[in-house]
Amino acid sequence: MTLAAPAPQGFLSPTGVEIAFLLVGLVTFAAAIVTVTTKQLVHAALWLVVALGGLAVEYLLLTAEFIAWVQVLIYVGSVVVLLLFGLMLTKAPIGRSPDADSGNRWAALTVAVAAAATLVWVVVDAFRTQWIDLDAPQGTTAVTGAMLFQHWVLPFEALSVLLLAALVGAIVLSRKADEGDEADETGPEPGAKTAPGTADEEQR
């Protein structure tokens, strides 16, 4: 850590890894921007796939190999599919929906730009002279498995209990209420499919 910034390291002579990181980062950021600004709801979910996949590539470039594959499996494979299911079950309009953004869009833009400017200034000022040494991989699967099951076993087990609780909670929440008190239930029919869909996705 904290190399003393040797001569070959500098903004004007970026390494290949830095160039790749920059390009993939640009793609990721652009996809994120499209995700939060597009008026077509399904396209937002699909652009989210690009953003999350770009982040997986960034993890690979940072030598965190296991995290990258977990990102692909869970985010791209399961979370986005869940979001698409949610869009379908709430009958999201296919095509452009003009009211996708609320009226306080300009206030939100102001807040976001101000936060971005402040944070970028602080971060660049703080870590201007710090360099990551990527020669030794830090996140191979062997290393990750060893540290996860040597030092982090207890949080890991607690996390499995949390996932079980979330699974049960999702099933309970998305199940239709008892038959007695909803004789006049005229809600959308796809609600009936919610419980199995959510449960299947949750178990991945």
Binding site: I67, L83, T90, L173
Partner: protein, 134 residues
């Protein structure tokens, strides 16, 4: 690699998600923006873990835990959104105004609150309409 690259990318992604959370109207799009913010934090955790060469790899372990918790969060969040949609017929966060503050009968009709009265009445009417359709 310069440490500023991943840090700045994480900041930009976080602020993109922040904009989405504040500006989007559909609840599922708000959940997508929350995912973007969580991923920005994950990128920071991984980058600083690799930079510090932590012996316990606390950053990567926390990233794995964050991913798992985000999966649980999206499951619960989506089921809540679906339940709201089933009961109200909409997943539009702007229209869910049942707990919005409306000028009560005890409040003096000041000049400042006068413009808000029609909005409150409108929200109440919309809520009643939504309950009627549910």
């Amino acid at each position: 690699m310069h440490l500023a690259y991943p840090a700045v990318l994480a900041v930009l992604l976080f602020c993109t998600g922040l904009y989405g959370v504040l500006a989007r109207r559909n609840a599922i799009l708000v959940l997508m923006s929350v995912e973007l913010m969580l991923n920005a934090v994950n990128l920071n955790l991984v980058a600083f873990d690799v930079w510090l060469r932590d012996a316990l790899h606390a950053g990567q372990a926390l990233t794995l835990f964050t991913i798992a918790i985000a999966a649980a969060e999206i499951g619960i969040g989506l089921s809540i959104v679906l339940m709201v949609y089933r009961n109200r017929g909409t997943s539009d966060v702007d229209r869910l105004r049942d707990t919005a503050e409306t000028p009560g009968p005890g409040d003096a009709p000041e000049a400042l609150e006068a413009p808000e009265a029609p909005e409150g009445a409108d929200a109440t009417a919309a809520a009643q309409k939504a309950e009627a359709t549910a």
